[in-house]
Structures are given as structure tokens and as C-alpha cells.
């Protein structure tokens, strides 16, 4: 049953990168500014659960009701030449790599191409793209919808910016039915709250 987020964790587990035998969850309390995966700070407006597993370095996974229902992923500082997810089939299904020279439109296409390859399907659609700021830097905000192999329609939104040649990206996705609409407002506020401390 393929979903974007689930795959993200599964790939990390398969790669044997995670030390803990079982994934744990820690509470992230609303209203508290918190450091995410190293450098960026966000302030959630609702309580979230944070996975103790970090799928790739400088990443975090949050959920409220379980990852099938709402999935908030942070990728904080993807380097030049790196893909979004860890590659499991580097030769036969290589993932596109990040390049700091990318235009904002390229980031959207890069995300879409990555999703298409890992989902193996073609029902991933970008529905809206607009300019936006992340942590005070010019970037992009886009919305998408897709159906994974569990045949559930999901919607999602991403905020991303290239800062000092690294990509910072926050992505949220949830079933179109009920969960997306319930959570997206708070997620957008969280994305707006992001800032870098030096």
C-alpha cells in the first residue's frame, strides 16, 4: 500500500539507518516553538506527535492521528546532488537530484517527478503553485492531489525555499475526505511560523 509518507519511513527502515528497535512517538505541544531536524524553528498551533525515527538526516516526521490520516514531513537542508528520499533502486529507478540552481518551478517539478517514481503511478497532480516565503526567504508553496495504491484520494501542500544552496521543505498530506480540510489551516500557520536561528 503505497503512500508518499509511508514509503519515506519504510525506505529508511530498509536501509537500516535507524537505531531504535521500535519507533517511538513524542508529544510536540502546541504554542511552543521547537527546533526541527537541526536548524529551523516552528511553532505548532495544535499538539502533534513526532516520530523518534528520522528517515534521512535532517528530517522529521509528525502526525496527529496516525500517518495514514495526516502526515507532516520536514526536510531541513537537502544538499546539492541529493534526492528527496533515499534511493532503493539507484540504477533502475533513480530519483531526481536536488540542484541549488533550480528555479521555484523546478522544485515543484522535482517533487512531482519524485512522487511519480516512488508511487509508480501517474495520478499525482499539482493543483496550485504560488510564490511564498519560508523563514523569510523567497520560495514556493504548492498544492497537490494523488491516489496511492490503497486507492485513497489524498491532498497535500508543500512550502519550500532554497537557503544557502540547501533545500528546506515542509510537506503535509492527508486524505481528501475530512482530514485534509481539518488540518490544513493549522499546517499553513505552522509553515508561516518557520524561522532560522543563527
Amino acid at each position: 500500500m503505497k503512500r508518499l509518507g509511508k514509503l519515506f519511513i519504510a525506505l529508511a527502515l530498509a536501509a537500516g539507518l535507524t537505531t531504535p528497535a521500535q519507533a517511538g512517538w513524542r508529544l510536540v505541544e502546541k504554542g511552543e516553538e521547537r527546533k526541527v531536524a537541526g536548524r529551523m524553528y516552528v511553532t505548532p498551533t495544535e499538539d502533534w506527535n513526532r516520530s523518534t525515527i528520522r528517515p534521512v538526516s535532517r528530517s522529521e516526521v509528525w502526525t496527529r492521528d496516525g500517518r495514514e490520516l495526516n502526515d507532516l514531513d520536514f526536510f531541513m537542508g537537502i544538499k546539492d546532488g541529493k534526492p528527496l528520499f533515499r534511493e532503493t533502486h539507484r540504477k533502475r529507478a533513480p530519483l531526481p537530484k536536488f540542484d541549488p540552481a533550480m528555479l521555484p518551478t523546478d522544485i515543484v517539478e522535482w517533487y512531482q517527478d519524485t512522487a511519480n517514481i516512488v508511487l509508480g503511478g501517474s495520478l499525482f497532480a499539482i493543483t496550485e503553485v504560488k510564490p511564498a516565503r519560508l523563514a523569510g526567504y523567497d520560495g514556493v508553496h504548492f498544492a497537490f492531489s494523488y491516489t496511492g495504491s490503497d486507492n485513497v484520494e489524498r491532498k497535500g501542500e508543500v512550502r519550500a525555499a532554497i537557503i544557502d544552496s540547501r533545500l528546506y521543505l515542509i510537506s503535509f498530506d492527508a486524505p481528501s475526505l475530512y482530514y485534509f480540510d481539518r488540518n490544513i489551516g493549522g499546517v499553513r500557520v505552522l509553515m508561516d511560523s518557520a524561522r532560522l536561528k543563527r
Partner: protein
Amino acid sequence: MKQFAITLAASALFASPLAAQDVAAVEQVADPAPLPSAHGYEPQDDLEKGLWYEMDEAERRLKQSKFLIEDPALNDYVRGVLCRTVGEDRCPAARIYLMRTPQFNASMAPNGVMLVYSGLLLRMRDEAQLAAVLGHEFTHFEKQHSLRLFRNMRKKSDLMAWLSVAPVRLPYAAAMATQFAVIGSVFSFSRDMEREADAGSIKELAQAGYDPRAASAVWSQLGAEMDATAKERRHRSNKKRGGLFATHPRTTDRMGTLAQLAEAAVPDASAAETRAAEYRAALGDWWPQLIDDQIALQDFGGTEYLLATLAGGDPAGWTGDLLYARGELYRARAKEGDFAQAADFFRQAIATGDTPPESWRGLGLALMRLGNKPEGQEALRSYLTLRPQAADAALLRTMAGETLS
């Protein structure tokens, strides 16, 4: 998840190359039983009934799939091609489902479910080629090849013991294929079965008035595309390992045989039809979507070969659509020199006077990556004039230097 586990078990049965090894020796008895294509055919024994039960369940889920292409015109067209190929009296045995998934594949289950992937539709150059594939799959169905595989397996071992058998690996993990593993699996038929299906398809093509040479063309195109993908990615060609070629007779051997069969069936093929124009018209508005699906896979070598095939090896064959697709392919790869190439293809596409407005978008973005901001912005503005409601219009406006309204 129990249901899913059973599904997996059955799919492993079909897909296991082991299953195909010695089937050739089995069941060549003259068959007094009715053909499955006959009207009102029912499963003959408990085993076949069980198989149908599984397949019918899978079909029920299939009907709800978001991956189904429901467009009535396209569905009617594909059904029409099958009926023309195998005849009006036999084609009602097939229930065709068009699946939006970019891989090359088609299959037919024992209960009459025929899956046709959109990646197959993208790759066929004319109606005769589509007819060749449909005729091939229909022969597998009518000769009950998958049922024979299933029976043979059951003789050897209990169904559940095969849970651990890994299915044939697909080049990509197709979401659709995992969803409907039973009917969507890649059947590893024995070589004899493939020969039988090849011979069947040639016979059907000839009777329907199609050019039977289409069959060998399909396999040579597919093989060459796999080679092109492998060369770019520096791995062994899939032609030599799994998927559709897993237990097929050696490709070269097979194409030679197909060509001989075609020659024998229709010595003078000049009157035989390929119906290329009809095929293009039927695909119509779907084509740009299907080529986008293909480009998104980032299979540069394979897609480049595919586009050249569709252009027919003729400079004049490069239509505005194909040039646009080629520009997008180069822009997506983004290696050194690719943006200049892409800009060139977009310009050629625009010069044809018949290209999607997205060629202007591609040109603008390629020029901006090349550092040519003024011309890039101008191209983006042209695109926004043509597509003011584009999903990314707001972002493109700022990139084109227009102020937000």
C-alpha cells in the same frame, strides 16, 4: 490483510518463473471442452471455480480504481479493435479495462478481464500494433494458458507454500499492479505458450485484414526501448531479465519467427492495413497526458527512443507535440547542455505552429536556467497570455517580472 495475503500468493504463482519451466510437457491433450471465449462459458471444475472467484473479487475492486480510464470514446475504440481482430462472436468474452499507468503491459485473466495499460497505448504506432498485442493476449486467454499454469502448480504444492515466492520484478513498482496483483500480474508463460500466442495473433491479424508484420514490430520496438533505457542508466537491459521478456522465446529468434509467420499468412501485405491515422485520432487528447506520464518517470534513454519511434525515423515526423515532449525530456534531465537543447526543441515546436502552449513555458524556463532572463521572461509572458488560468500562473507571473495584482 488476509485478503491481501491470498492475493499475493496467487500472484506469486503466476509470476514465478519456476511455474513456467515444465508446463510445456503438460496438457497437450485434445480438448473436447468448450473454449472460454464461447458464449455462456462456465468454469469446469472446483479449481477453475476457485480461480474465477479470486479473479471476480479482484475485478470488483478494479471497478472502483481511480486508475481506470473511463473515457467512453477511448474504451469503445479499444474494444472495437479487439472485436475487429478476433471477431464479433468471440470478443464479448473479454471485459476491457484501460488503466492509467505508464508501463508497457497488457494481460488477460481466465475470467475474461483484459487489462490494457496506458503505457501500451502510448507505445503503439498504429492500430495494427495494438491489434497484435490484443490478439496475443486473447490467444493466451482462449488457450487457457494461465489456468494451465495454475493447475500445474497445484499438482506440485499447496497454494500457501508459494507465499514466499517472489514475483517477477517489474522495472518500476507500479502502484496499479500492486493493487490488483491477481489480474495485473505479469504472467510468466512458457516459451511454447508464447509461441502459441504469437501464432494466434498473426492468424487473427491476417484474418482481420491488418498487416501481420505489426507483431514483430511491437517486440523489436520494446526490446530496443529497454536497451536504450539500460544504456543511459548503465545497467543490463530488462530485455534480458524479467518482465515481459522473462520466459519469452529469445527476442531475436522470436522476431524472426513472427516475420516468417507474417510472410506466410499474408505473402503480399501491400493491401493489409495498419490504420495509423485512425489510431492517432482515437488517442487524440490523451496523447499529451500519456507522454507527460512517461516523461515524469525520468527514463531519459527509453523516452528518447520512444519519441524517435513515434516520429517514425523521419525529420518531418517530428510534430509540434513530439518536439514539445522532447524539450520537456531534456529540460527534466537538466544535465550540461540539456537546457540549450531543450530551448532549441521548444523553438522548433513553436515554429511548427501546432504545439501545446506549454512549449512557451518550457522555452521560458529553459532560457532562465541558461541565464537568459529577458528572453525567458518574455516567453513566460507569452505562455501566460495563452494560459492565464494555469495552475502555476501566480508563480510564473512573479518569475516573469510581472507584479502581483
